[in-house]
């Protein structure tokens, strides 16, 4: 956004609470890699130039990449400058931050959707003596005491962490809720290659059938491992991870597990197959069927006949519960009334229509399916900077008259 504003000669400042790539530096686990291949991190005029386009960046590599881009763009950057309040004024906004107060006519919120790790209310009933941590606090298995671990949540984070912790010798029980199953590689190509070429990543927010649902969907159950292995539920079962239903409650020290596991897996299997069918149809329609491997359908999710409905933490030897139950945005500093009842910002493709001059970026399906990817920032910044420039222009005309 800063480079787009600079290209339009719009005076601006970029406020960063810590360093460039702060969340990647401070709030993610050690082994995490980007879930998108190297080639896909395409920022305007700045792409991947190494010799491993299909690899996945580690956290240090991701930080270096974003630092490299910051060096290239050299935005007017204020680091270590956390914002404590954004308020409306007569002619724009007041931004109160650690290093001073700015008055501006437009504000772009680029703080993302993954600020606070969500923990369900049932956490309050976890028996004392069992350690609890979230994906934001988790670093590596050595941080956990020996013994069993219950990982709650089976989206990308939960599945990756379950895989890693189980391999460390701490037996994992994975409580599975709604999840989006996907293979890392399909017909010899990366899932993100398919998402990119088929146009799915470019699908616009005003064209998708159920936007609310599309925005709430959890991430693909995939990892960016060097060996490109899947981390779907079948892969975890083969590893020895114990799959159980959604954690529905805790009573008298025992977990109550939902009996809906079979249906959640069926939904995920059917949804995955629909996605793969979309890819097959795209390949057939675009003469690409020969260039890729033949189509196939992954094995349906294997489950035991009667998955357990309860689990005694003590008897099962569970010493730690890891909440991989998603994140929510933190707008505690936003004193402009534009949040819905769930604490999400109301916006139309990043334009906060109720507060002219206020914009938001980097949220799931903000303007396109790829809006939350590094790859989506360029297009969204182009669109929103144009809107922002028009807003400033209109305001200038209004004042001149």
């Amino acid at each position: 956004m800063s480079s787009r504003l600079a290209a339009r000669s719009i005076d601006h400042v970029v406020l960063e609470r810590g360093e460039v790539a702060n969340t990647w530096r401070t709030e993610r686990w050690d082994s995490l890699t980007l879930l998108t291949p190297n080639w896909q991190s395409r920022l305007p005029g700045f792409g991947y130039e190494g010799d491993d386009p299909d690899g996945f960046r580690t956290m240090p590599e991701t930080i270096a990449f974003l630092e490299g881009y910051a060096k290239r763009v050299s935005p007017p950057l204020q680091t270590h400058c956390p914002v404590t309040a954004v308020r409306r004024t007569a002619d724009g906004y007041e931004v109160v931050a650690a290093q001073g107060t700015w008055h501006c006519r437009a504000v772009v919120l680029a703080t993302g959707a993954f600020n606070i790790a969500q923990v369900p209310a049932v956490a309050a009933a976890v028996p004392p003596g069992i350690a609890q941590l979230t994906t934001a606090q988790y670093r590596n298995p050595q941080q956990l005491e020996a013994g069993g671990v219950m990982v709650v949540g089976a989206a990308a984070s939960g599945a990756q962490i379950a895989d890693e912790i189980h391999r460390s010798g701490r037996p994992v029980t994975l409580a599975v809720g709604e999840h989006v199953r996907a293979p890392r590689t399909y017909r010899g190509r990366d899932i993100q290659w398919w998402m990119d070429v088929s146009g799915l990543n470019d699908e616009r927010y005003d064209k998708v059938e159920n936007l609310r649902r599309a925005r709430a969907l959890s991430s693909f159950q995939i990892a960016g491992y060097r060996d490109r292995r899947n981390i779907d539920l079948n892969a975890l079962t083969s590893l020895g991870v114990n799959l159980v239903g959604r954690l529905a409650g805790i009573r008298e020290g025992k977990a109550q597990l939902s009996g809906s596991l079979r249906n959640l897996c069926e939904l995920a299997d059917l949804k995955q197959n629909r996605l793969l069918k979309t890819f097959d149809e795209w390949a057939a329609a675009n003469g690409a069927s020969e260039a890729v491997d033949p189509p196939h359908r992954p094995e349906p999710t294997r489950l035991e006949a009667s998955p357990p409905l309860g689990l005694d933490f003590a008897r099962a030897g569970i010493r730690t519960i890891l909440w991989a139950t998603g994140f929510r945005p933190d707008y505690a500093w936003l004193e402009v009334p534009v949040l819905d009842a769930k604490g999400n910002i109301r916006h139309d493709g990043g334009v906060v229509t109720e507060a002219p001059g206020l914009y938001v970026m980097g949220l799931p399906f903000l303007r396109r399916r790829k809006s939350s990817l590094i790859d989506g920032a360029g297009d969204d910044a182009r669109d929103l900077s144009a809107h922002l420039a028009a807003h400033l222009g209109a305001r200038a005309t209004e004042l001149a008259n």
């Binding site: 239903g245 009996g259 809906s260 069926e266 939904l267 009667s306 009842a341």
Partner: protein, 188 residues
């Protein structure tokens, strides 16, 4: 020359537009979405009882069915009862079946799939040593429920499976059965 016939609009008898309209209306009025369902029961004799439903609360006001509905329940003769009506556990199966089937019709309508016939059989296992108090390790309730649908519709087998899966995802009775619910029983 044969004229291409205009396809008949899908009609499963579900007013999906009204349901989507309700979604839209409730978005800004979450209080109106809070419902209370009620029933009363009267003991008749032995294991025979009669439940009545009529009023419920929703959309911020007391509501009423078009008429009073009653449901008798009893136990079969092999339990030394009069077998005047279905057992309560069979009524649970009937509830689940009706809820899922209503969902199938609604989801099919929303996905523009014409249904021609929908039927299902349900079977639930139970070890009655639980209810007879013979073994503390045996639970009173079902040890599992198996629902098998037969559906004839203008859709692929995969799409039909997806409709049935979505119906489970949105079903109240499915949720009531698969997840724990706090129950408080008092004597007034």
């Amino acid at each position: 020359m044969a004229k291409a016939k205009k396809p008949k609009p899908v009609n499963n008898g579900v007013n999906v537009e009204a349901l989507f309209g309700a979604q839209e209306a409730l978005k800004n009025a979450p209080e109106a979405a809070k419902f209370k369902w009620r029933s009363t029961v009267k003991w008749i004799n032995g294991t025979h009882s009669r439940s009545t439903v009529e009023g419920f609360y929703g959309l911020g006001a007391e509501q009423k069915h078009k008429k009073k509905f009653t449901f008798d329940a009893d136990h079969p003769e092999i339990f030394a009862a009069a077998d005047q009506a279905a057992t309560p556990v069979e009524i649970v199966l009937a509830s689940l079946a009706s809820c899922l089937t209503a969902g199938v019709a609604a989801v099919a309508q929303a996905r523009k799939v014409q249904l021609r016939s929908v039927s299902a059989t349900l079977e639930a296992g139970m070890d009655v040593r639980g209810i007879l108090g013979m073994d503390e390790d045996v639970r009173n309730g079902f040890d599992g429920i198996k629902v098998t649908y037969k559906i004839d519709a203008d859709a692929s087998p995969e799409d039909i499976k997806a409709i049935v899966a979505q119906s489970q995802k949105r079903s109240a009775v499915y949720d009531i059965i698969t997840n724990p619910t706090n129950v408080s029983v008092e004597v007034a």
